[in-house]
């Protein structure tokens, strides 16, 4: 269990604007994803935990050990923290073979155990047959597995990964997810993974911390955050929503319904607790929750007519972009049936609408 409360300020300088990090979080065993745009402070959080950066104040506890405490001035060196760190570029020692890389990291284990431990990790991470080669002589996937094995060989109490899947192609990415699931199953330590890829959060994360400009804006299970973004900021960061400026026309808590005006149209929604009639809100709905069909006469209830402007094709589904900035994801088959249409109606399922 890692518990951190970190405050760090970088004053503005002639060549850079200032930045301040102010974050409190806990992470238990399992994968916790630090998600956020570049410049949100994700790597700074990892560097503070690993001991490369000294926070101005706060406290970092790993299990029952204090790694940093601003009040008493405790600040352990990276060497003393026993945190495994997988760097973005893997940072394997280029002048050592993969086996030597692991042996270097095993030196803090008892002497008799080292050799066996190195052999075991080489096999477990499927790099035994290239163990005698240098990092530049093996594939990207092997380099990555070696860097994870090296970080784990000293039995760290925390594993930190900085955008490990960045720059990997699709098959390697899949392979990496597989390796990380294996690590999660076999090593009972908290794993903190930095990413700005939402798919990765869902693929790997049990918990997700959303960072923006040095602040934690939401935390929870990835599914939960996608279903209930806490603010417009979070919804924008996730980048997975239609966001419409709207006004609440009626609210009926008894029947759990409401009516909201989006542009010149009105649609039904659920009751929005804490909102008042006449409130201006942002309606948030995911593209795959909307359905679109060819227009056939007058639009029905909860349907908005729209003109198809652009499509973005994906292997399984197609994103349709309509006039008024509405995006709808349709299964490919459904799109193929009606692809020649220009005029469409978009149906808003009332329960899917959220007001932010």
């Amino acid at each position: 269990m890692i518990q951190a409360s970190i405050r760090k300020t970088f004053p503005p300088r002639p060549d850079s604007t200032g930045f301040s990090l102010d974050i409190d979080f806990k992470a238990a065993a399992g994968v916790t994803v630090l998600f956020g745009p570049s410049g949100a402070g994700k790597t700074l959080v990892l560097d503070s935990l690993a001991g490369f950066v000294r926070p101005d104040e706060g406290r970092i506890m790993l299990d029952d050990a204090i790694l940093f405490d601003g009040a008493t001035g405790v600040h352990l060196t990276p060497q003393a923290r026993n945190c495994g760190y997988v760097f973005q570029d893997y940072a394997l020692f280029p002048h050592m073979t993969l086996r030597e890389n692991l042996a270097f990291a095993a030196e803090r284990r008892p002497r008799l155990e080292r050799h066996r431990r190195v052999k075991e990790m080489l096999e477990r991470f499927r790099i035994a047959e290239v163990a005698g080669r240098r990092p530049h002589e093996v594939s990207g996937g092997q380099r990555q597995r070696c860097s994870i094995a090296r970080a784990l060989i000293g039995a760290p109490r925390l594993l930190l990964l900085d955008e490990p899947a960045q720059g990997l192609d699709a098959p390697l990415r899949g392979e990496f997810y597989e390796v990380l699931r294996q690590v999660r199953a076999e090593f009972p330590t908290p794993i903190l993974l930095v990413t700005h890829d939402l798919d990765e959060c869902f693929e790997l994360g049990e918990e997700m911390l959303v960072l923006r400009a040095g602040r934690l804006v939401q935390s929870g299970a990835p599914r939960e955050i996608l279903d209930r973004p806490a603010s417009l900021d979070v919804a924008r960061l996730l980048g997975a929503f239609n966001l419409f400026p709207a006004q609440i026309r009626t609210l009926d808590p008894g029947r759990n319904t409401s009516r909201v005006q989006i542009g010149e149209f009105e649609v039904d929604g659920p009751y929005f607790p804490g909102r008042l009639k006449g409130d201006r809100v942002t309606i948030c709905v995911r593209p795959e929750q909307l359905t679109a069909a060819a227009r056939n006469g007058r639009p029905g209830p909860n349907q908005i007519p729209a003109i198809l402007e652009r499509t973005v094709e994906r292997p399984q589904w197609v994103r349709l972009e309509f006039s008024g900035g509405i995006a709808v994801d349709l299964p490919r088959a459904e799109y193929e049936r009606q692809r020649d249409n220009r005029e469409w109606v978009i149906e808003f399922p009332p329960a899917a609408l959220r007001a932010l």
């Binding site: 690993a50 001991g51 490369f52 060196t77 990276p78 060497q79 923290r81 026993n82 945190c83 495994g84 760190y85 760097f87 973005q88 570029d89 940072a91 394997l92 020692f93 280029p94 002048h95 270097f104 990291a105 030196e107 803090r108 090296r150 970080a151 000293g154």
Partner: protein, 218 residues
């Protein structure tokens, strides 16, 4: 007329010893400059570089002040070794050292600073002490540049003239290095001797510089 090869051997010996000392001293200074932040860091760097731009006579003068027979350091040396330091080949080593140190410190600092920081960070997270990190990661990764710089420092030491003349003198068979022997031979009209030594020392220097270039990371 037979050529006395002693000056060449002496020059090689002086250059070798001074290069070894320059590596030990230069690496330590370069390590501090590359890894520690302290007040006056750039002044230290500039001071180490000074012999590169000052006239050799200035260096020679300073050396006589610091290690001359009347100086405290010179007296301590005389107490311990029962002979003065100046006007021996060891003084020539010190003169050569001062001239080769800047080359080494400059290159070694750049080489140490150019080592991938994330490799060094990785070694730290893996529990390696700063000492082990330096010997096992930083130094091996900077090795080629440092060897190239050492070769350059060796070549530079071979050519020292002015400061050597002032602190070691020009005693044939004892402190007369190639540079001094050539000057002497020319002054005495032994052009053949001078020319031979000139050609030999040029060839040696050319070889060393080629080796240094080959070592330098492309």
């Amino acid at each position: 007329m037979p050529i006395d090869w002693f000056p060449l051997w002496l020059s090689l010996r002086v250059a070798f010893v001074s290069t070894m000392l320059a590596i030990a001293l230069g690496l330590s200074i370069a390590y501090l400059l590359a890894n520690r932040d302290f007040r006056g860091k750039e002044i230290v760097d500039a001071a180490v570089t000074l012999p590169l731009v000052l006239p050799p006579t200035v260096i020679g003068f300073y050396l006589l002040v610091v290690i001359g027979r009347a100086s405290p350091l010179g007296r301590i040396w005389e107490q311990i070794f029962r002979s003065p330091l100046v006007f021996t080949w060891k003084a020539a080593v010190i003169a050569a050292l001062l001239h080769s140190l800047p080359l080494l410190v400059k290159s070694a600092r750049a080489a140490l600073e150019s080592v991938d920081r994330s490799c060094e960070r990785a070694a730290r997270t893996l529990g390696a002490s700063e000492w082990r990190l330096f010997w096992r990661v930083t130094l091996p990764l900077a090795r080629r540049s440092i060897m190239a710089a050492s070769a350059l420092a060796f070549a530079r030491s071979l050519g020292e003239f002015g400061a050597t003349l002032m602190v070691a003198g020009n005693i044939p068979g004892r402190t007369q290095t190639v540079a001094l022997a050539i000057y002497d031979a020319y002054e005495n009209g032994n052009t053949t001797v001078a020319l031979t030594l000139v050609l030999v020392i040029s060839a040696v220097a050319l070889g060393i510089l080629t080796f240094s270039n080959w070592l330098s990371p492309k």
